[in-house]
């Protein structure tokens, strides 16, 4: 048997066909195969060219121009954007993001009615879904379609629409080259592994997931703690409807998907959750929203409870400027406008401002068992930087 080329991602047909997965045909699979291969090629084969161009010609010219070393990733970006190799690389990478959207939209939109019917049969408003049609959309969601996703998480094209969720679900296996697993649930599995290794006796009774989208990260955690009541919130109804139907089709019944804003958790009592977590959510919020979310997390977390936030690493002073620049690519080129500012922050400082005390705080590397080999495709591998806190147990307990 011929072995696939080393740089090949798994073919897209390995994605798990759960009960909400959109119908698709031969050429749809082939399109995703192309995008996944192209992404991997851009990251692994051509990615190194960016740093070469920087070292060999961009940095020397920039030093001459500035008569000093560059002082920020922004100076590097402006210079790199004039480089012909980096420009074409960026243009190609941006196009793969846009193509990924076009592919899944061309599959999902023609069957939007069928998907809605499938979802309706699986959703139980009494048990696993609670929508709030009056909830205002936060400006950080309304002002930009995150990662070039037309209509973002929240646009409903028909009454009871789930197409935004289906669209998001379909493409992730291709965008991440399969690194997130057949159910795109690697982040949740990584959290479970981390808890088992670091807090083996931790048995949360009530868990809150903020910014859950389609619940792909929520489900492994709900499965690991089957006796826990899991509440997963998001501001966008179409992804929540899809999430509830998807969870039901996978036989997971201890998650309730609720339309709510993490900045206002007033519906939940203080100290009412043993675990509160987010996964690649903080960088999609504004800095003001982040502070409000953290204050609410601090309030709803029970004494002795754990909070964990999976993110990409912050741009600390010891991170080389070139690495900061390349990690910042999505902020400027993939509709992630808040990414850059978020990564300038020390999230532990924000958590401390929100009422956590310094001894309660920690950082951790949370990684899935199958981390991609080779150069990192920044922000798309199955390893995260986690910011967390364990709230001190109350006196007398």
């Amino acid at each position: 048997m011929t072995k696939a080329a080393k740089s090949s991602p798994p073919a897209w047909h390995h994605v798990e066909q759960h009960g909400m997965f959109p119908d698709h045909d031969h050429d749809d699979v082939a399109r995703f195969n192309f995008v996944a291969s192209m992404n991997k090629y851009l990251a692994q084969t051509l990615g190194a060219g960016n740093e070469l161009a920087y070292d060999k010609r961009v940095l020397p010219a920039l030093k001459k121009e500035l008569r000093r070393d560059p002082r920020s990733r922004h100076e590097i970006r402006e210079a790199m954007n004039r480089d012909p190799f980096h420009s074409v690389w960026s243009a190609a990478k941006r196009n793969t993001m846009e193509q990924r959207q076009q592919i899944s939209r061309s599959i999902v939109l023609p069957q939007a009615d069928d998907l809605k019917e499938r979802a309706d049969a699986l959703i139980s408003e009494a048990r696993n879904l609670e929508l709030d049609p009056d909830l205002a959309l936060p400006s950080y969601i309304a002002s930009v379609d995150h990662h070039c996703m037309p209509g973002s998480y929240h646009t409903a094209l028909i009454e009871g629409d789930v197409s935004a969720g289906a669209n998001y679900d379909m493409g992730m296996f291709a965008t991440t080259g399969g690194a997130m697993g057949q159910l795109t649930d690697m982040a949740g599995r990584a959290v479970v592994d981390w808890l088992k290794a670091n807090h083996p006796t931790f048995a949360p009774k009530r868990i809150l997931d903020i910014g859950c989208t389609i619940g792909h990260t929520t489900l492994p955690i709900a499965e690991a703690f089957p006796d826990a009541e899991v509440i997963a919130i998001d501001v966008a109804a179409p992804v929540l409807r899809y999430a509830a139907a998807r969870a039901a089709s996978l036989g997971i019944d201890n998650v309730r998907f609720v339309q709510a804003d993490g900045e206002d958790l007033s519906r939940f009592e203080a100290g009412s959750f043993d675990m509160v977590y987010t996964s690649m959510f903080l960088h999609e919020t504004s800095n003001a929203a982040l502070r409000n979310v953290m204050a609410e997390v601090q309030r709803v977390l029970a004494p002795g409870g754990l909070t964990l936030h999976l993110e990409q690493p912050s741009y600390t002073e010891d991170m080389p400027l070139y690495e900061q620049f390349i990690r910042d690519w999505d902020a400027h080129n993939n509709n992630e406008p808040f990414w850059s500012r978020l990564h300038d922050l020390n999230i532990l400082d924000v958590m401390q401002d929100s009422g956590f005390s310094e001894p309660e705080l920690f950082t951790a590397r949370v990684a899935a068992a199958t981390v991609l080999e080779g150069p990192e495709d920044h922000g798309r591998g199955a390893a995260w930087h986690a910011y967390g806190a364990q709230k001190t147990a109350s006196e007398g307990e």
Binding site: N33, S90, A92, S106, D145, N287
Partner: protein
């Protein structure tokens, strides 16, 4: 769902129906711009379009090759087709209409970036979005 094997009459019909149901409105919706400023990577807008078209063509070429490969393997496996017949094939009216529609869909896919510029120019969406975004950022920075 998805229980039909590729190649069954139902699956084949369903697939053709999908292609033919692709109305202009639906294509417009599929090719919709994402809200937010699109960076210009290359020297001119024209180069951006050419890049997008090249990428889309590469995608569709890859897709066609994969499909052809499937077909050739199945044909070889089952011994169902005399290969020279392909050279003399002439579609009937129904097949012709289906093939012409598929051509239109292919072109709309490859020409996405031009369609998006038309949408952007006609909707004048971008400046307003950028202002909103700026306002959010200013607000947050304050």
């Amino acid at each position: 769902m998805g229980a039909e094997q590729p190649g069954t009459p139902t699956a084949h019909k369903k697939q053709l129906a999908k292609v033919n149901d692709m109305s202009d409105d639906l294509n417009h919706l599929i090719n919709k711009n994402a809200k937010g400023r699109r960076p210009q990577f290359l020297n001119t807008k024209a180069e951006e379009h050419l890049m997008s078209m090249t990428m889309a063509l590469m995608q569709e070429l890859a897709v066609t090759r994969e499909r052809l490969d499937t077909l050739e393997r199945l044909v070889a496996q089952k011994g169902v087709l005399d290969l020279p017949e392909i050279e003399t094939y002439r579609p009937d009216a129904e097949a012709e209409a289906e093939r012409q529609t598929a051509q239109q869909k292919l072109i709309a896919t490859v020409m996405r970036s031009m369609e998006q510029e038309i949408h952007a120019l006609s909707e004048q969406e971008t400046p307003e979005v950028n202002q909103q975004l700026q306002a959010v950022n200013d607000d947050r920075a304050a």
